[in-house]
């Protein structure tokens, strides 16, 4: 099983590295998400024709940044990522499925694409509904739905890069 997981990671990494990013320009309506709050997400991650159902918990802070925790079906943490307001990225937890390099280089960019304040050219995102986004980078695709939105400031520790379990 470990070998299979490792192979998948290699395939994903190779696929991502060899795939030309699809040019895209995504302009998100303003005030779609709270400046401070928590977005609970359900996502389908597709790579090489295989699908993985994931849960995402994204804490937003106007001053603290964005903290994303990704879990699989039964709660195991697959990725823990903090993107500071200045764009600095901290990977607080990684996994065999999502190694640190993947999280730092790709997942952080995807978070900024969908939830970032500034639209970027390399954001192949389609907004199907105000709570439904599809990001297609060719090498992989993310179909993401926001299933719950909690407004209000999240704990400051959430946006402290020293508060997570570094792996």
């Amino acid at each position: 099983m470990r070998r299979n997981l490792f192979l998948l990671v290699l395939v994903l990494a190779a696929g991502c590295a060899s795939t030309q990013p699809r040019a895209g320009h995504f302009t998100r309506p303003t005030n779609l998400f709270p400046a401070d709050g928590l977005l609970v997400q359900r996502a389908l991650f597709t790579a090489r024709g295989r699908q993985f159902a994931l849960n995402g918990y994204l804490a937003l802070s106007e001053t603290g940044g964005k903290r994303l925790i990704v879990t699989e079906n039964f709660g195991n943490v697959m990725a823990d990522l903090l993107v500071k307001p200045d764009g600095k990225v901290f990977v607080l937890r990684s996994s065999r499925m999502f190694p640190e390099r993947y999280i730092r280089r790709l997942m952080a960019a995807d978070v900024e694409c969908i939830f970032g304040g500034m639209p970027k050219l390399d954001c192949p995102v389609t907004m199907l509904d105000t709570n439904h986004f599809v990001l297609d980078r060719g090498g992989y695709k993310l179909d993401l739905r926001i299933v719950e939105t909690k407004t209000g400031a999240q704990p400051a520790s959430m946006f402290d890069e020293n508060s997570g379990l570094k792996k």
Partner: protein, 230 residues
């Protein structure tokens, strides 16, 4: 990922069991009689229907992250784990195959699963546990028992790598072992997952297509069918 199989297997194994208040417990010197009794009780149950609340307690979050769902089991090896809120997802398995469905745009979509072997392993483990083969657990876990107003089985993984992800698993049962009230998976950093069971129905007759991996029956129809079961 590796941890999922034993964790879920254990949840399955003790599914015939569901929130408990703080209780005073006394450790049992020899857990074997309790385990044998539990094994005997589990072996006689043909089907189980349970509703659950799953709480993911992460220290970072001020409130637990909750989801709701239903779990159905039919001997010898069929299981349906369905999340009903805040999203809808069905996981179906037996000893040979697994399937997962997600509810999107008003219809169910069957996933082309990645790592089906992993889920397959989960299902095999679940099947094993459902048959009451607790002895198998002793290979991978050190099991201790405490009794009082509840019976609590605490299982500590023997494998250091597994302990790095899950420090212990607690199963909270009624004192007579007739029902599980709660399963708690503790992580080394203090985070935990708590699954609280309710509305248990035993030996209910499940309708056709309850475990159909091509087109599973809607949960509302199943709930209507088991509504009057004891």
């Amino acid at each position: 990922m590796k941890i999922s199989a034993p964790i879920f297997g254990l949840m399955f194994a003790f599914s015939a069991l569901a929130a408990t208040n703080e209780v005073t417990l006394s450790p049992v010197a020899n857990p074997q009689p309790v385990l044998s009794d539990l094994q005997h009780k589990m072996a006689s149950v043909k089907t189980v229907y349970l509703e659950f609340t799953q709480e993911r307690v992460l220290k970072l979050f001020s409130d637990p992250l909750k989801s709701e769902g239903v779990m159905l089991i039919a001997r010898p090896d069929k299981i349906r784990w369905e999340t009903t809120a805040p999203y809808q997802s069905i996981l179906l398995g037996d000893q040979k195959t697994v399937a997962q469905f997600e509810f999107n745009d008003g219809k169910w979509e069957k996933l082309k699963l990645g790592f089906p072997q992993l889920l397959q392993r989960v299902m095999q483990q679940m099947s094993l546990m459902n048959q009451g083969k607790l002895d198998a657990l002793m290979v991978d876990y050190k099991i201790s028992v405490a009794t009082g107003t509840m019976t609590v089985l605490t299982m500590v993984p023997k494998d250091e790598n597994v302990r790095g992800m899950m420090s212990s698993l607690e199963v909270h049962l009624l004192p007579d072992l007739s029902a599980t009230r709660e399963v708690v998976m503790n992580e080394p950093n203090g985070d935990l997952t708590r699954i609280t069971f309710r509305n248990e129905k035993r030996d209910a007759e499940f309708p056709a297509r309850t475990f159909d991996q091509g087109k599973p029956l809607d949960i509302a129809a199943i709930q209507a069918a088991v509504k009057n079961a004891p």
